[in-house]
Symmetry: C2
């Protein structure tokens, strides 16, 4: 009999998907170049040429049986060693290959992490605004996702609300910095305070509380700054990384999970991931991509277009009179809508061919997200339209 659980999920419509579909329909009428689609977080800069070169070289030179053979359950050892070495060098850590588990991008890393450190019924806390896919990602494991309300002044952490919600039932905290959708970069101060609270509460409750750090945007930070490395602050941290954004490879599903060596159960958790894979049909990311990314660990795509777009849009929004925190990274900006109902606001924007995503599903009603991973030329053409929309509809 077909599953009622998954069948029922088909009725839930994603706001982002609906908007993307509306934008697609409109594009058929006026041309894609004339729809200012800020809805999707799909990288707009190409993968580094070195990645393509490595892929072609592997295909041309390596014995196909070896190249395309089964990866060991816990990942290809040489790949794990290279990932550990790169993390150690860049973030002053001391990972060994035994702490690294290659995954089919961050979604699969999270699927393993949630199962590794929760039992059904346990709670995982995350912080608004948050990536709405966390809901099914967590809730379909049997654990429960609860969302701490946003600190809308800075999009760091609302610690007062957090401490209230951090009950004994919570066994993991999920953070995402640089953050989708706010573009905020958690500061060393924020991470220190978070870690202090987790240590205190772990001790008080007599059980571990894990920190699961979803970091696909780790390298996309502006103004020459860097994301403080989350695992440095707290021993029981599981970093979930994806090359999707750093190398502009979202379709290639490649990333890894890295358990802080300071975590007493680090190697056990990686071994457990091999067991978790069996139940979820994971069986490692593709061998070819494991080998290829291991050759370009210190490369990234050219993110300068994201920073340029951030500056253009932020300045324009401020000039119009939007309430907006300046993003320090990612390719998202997260302004307050010009009316209380961000869904209505986005609907009205659509009439101007502006595709803006209302943030109700991100746990932050009244705000909206713009994904500015699009050509700068298009951003430039969109800004007068944004001004016109704000003026005509809201008198700004």
């Amino acid at each position: 009999m077909i599953s009622e659980t998954y069948k029922a999920m088909l009725q839930q419509k994603s706001v982002i998907r609906n908007l993307a579909e509306a934008a697609g329909e409109r594009a058929k009428v006026i041309g894609a170049a004339n729809v200012f689609d800020y809805s999707l977080g799909n990288p707009s800069v190409p993968a580094p040429q070195k990645f393509t070169d490595v892929m072609i070289r592997l295909l041309q030179e390596k014995n196909p049986m070896e190249l395309h053979g089964y990866s060991p359950t816990l990942g290809i050892p040489s790949v794990k060693a290279k990932i550990a070495e790169s993390l150690n060098r860049r973030f002053d850590m001391n990972y060994g290959p035994e702490h690294i588990f290659p995954t089919s991008a961050a979604a699969a890393a999270l699927a393993h992490a949630f199962r590794a450190v929760t039992q059904p019924g346990d709670e995982i806390l995350t912080f608004a605004p948050f990536f709405p896919e966390y809901n099914p990602y967590v809730n379909l494991t049997g654990a429960k996702l609860k969302v701490v309300p946003a600190d809308t002044t800075s999009f760091q952490i609302n610690f007062e609300a957090f401490e209230e919600m951090l009950t004994e039932k919570v066994t993991a905290i999920l953070v995402n910095t640089p953050n989708n959708p706010s573009g905020a970069v958690y500061s060393a101060e924020t991470l220190t305070k978070l870690a202090d609270i987790l240590r205190k509460k772990s001790s008080q409750y007599g059980h571990d509380i894990f920190l699961i750090s979803d970091e696909p945007y780790r390298e996309i930070v502006f103004d020459g700054k860097k994301q403080p490395y989350v695992s440095k602050f707290y021993a029981n941290t599981i970093a979930c990384y994806s090359f999707s954004k750093a190398l502009s490879l979202p379709g290639e599903r490649i990333g890894y999970l890295a358990v802080n060596p300071a975590c007493p159960d680090a190697a056990t958790i990686v071994n457990m991931c091999g067991q978790i894979s069996r139940g979820i049909g994971h069986n490692c990311p593709t061998s070819l991509l494991q080998l290829a990314v291991a050759e370009v660990l210190d490369e990234t795509s050219d993110f300068s277009v994201y920073e340029k777009n951030r500056n253009l849009i932020y300045d324009c929004l401020v000039d119009i009179g939007f309430d907006v925190v300046k993003p320090e990274g990612t390719f998202y900006i997260f302004p307050k809508a010009l009316e209380e109902d961000a869904v209505a606001f986005s609907q009205k924007a659509l009439a101007y061919d502006l595709v803006l995503v209302p943030a109700d599903s991100f746990g932050c009603p009244g705000y909206f997200r713009m994904a500015y991973c699009i050509d700068t030329e298009k951003v430039e053409r969109s800004l007068p339209v944004l001004r016109k929309f704000a003026h005509e509809v809201y008198g700004k």
Copy 2:
């Protein structure tokens, strides 16, 4: 807190893995060429050159943003259409793209299929001998795998035992033909009888019973024969396919799930798979591999070496006096051990540097599996050793 469920699984040692490790240790001493390792089902013939050519062409010619961009949740439409067209042409079916869901090989296809057609507590029946990974694959979903005892005379289906076990709790049947580990190819007669029983019992119990067909070996059939296409026999069939064996790409994790268009819920089930993916972190197989396999759907690796090995080993085993059914496909053969305890038998064989897998975990104690996806030259060198072992230890 770390999960006790997955931690406990670390204590269970896989017989195959232990044997592979012992073989690896021995190889360090006497050289890999001198260990007759029949333990692993890793293809021993290369991927078709055309596959490699297509991959390189895609990397050289296609816009990297398009090539490496996100796949739609339900797979790349052009890829789905090509898979449907190839299946229709080869197996006289009428799939549309809406019936095809690309997956990270058969393991992921199965992970989706099990969740799509069971609720926690439902039973899935499979037939011994069976691939032991089915246990965690099914049981970690909350459904329960039950194993119908083998028909050891032919390794078709033991229908008497099957009908007894086919209670109202059963919502899905899992078949694997050509079969790992027996090499049996279910006949049209077997599949007709199976389908008749399922229709009768579905009607009697007033609920659907799905047939989940795990078919990674579909193309590896000997003597010019073909595997009758399972979905032709029964409307509510979900085919789970992998290119791992057909194209010798086990590490690249690429395959698909195809729901029989004759199933009334076919398109709904594919849509549900998109929801199931969210909970298990699947998010489609890699875009590049989806596009590449779509260009080589009618290709396979050269399987003649498997057939040659099958003939050599089968003739030798019969000559020695083993009780063995001639495999009609795959790259496995499944003889009865020369003593009741196949684990003891395999241990004794190891002293002759013969790595044979006892079949207790395959649901068929007293038998053993040989995976003959190795060089023919090595098979030829191993046969006198097999004779010597049978003679010296068992007086054959």
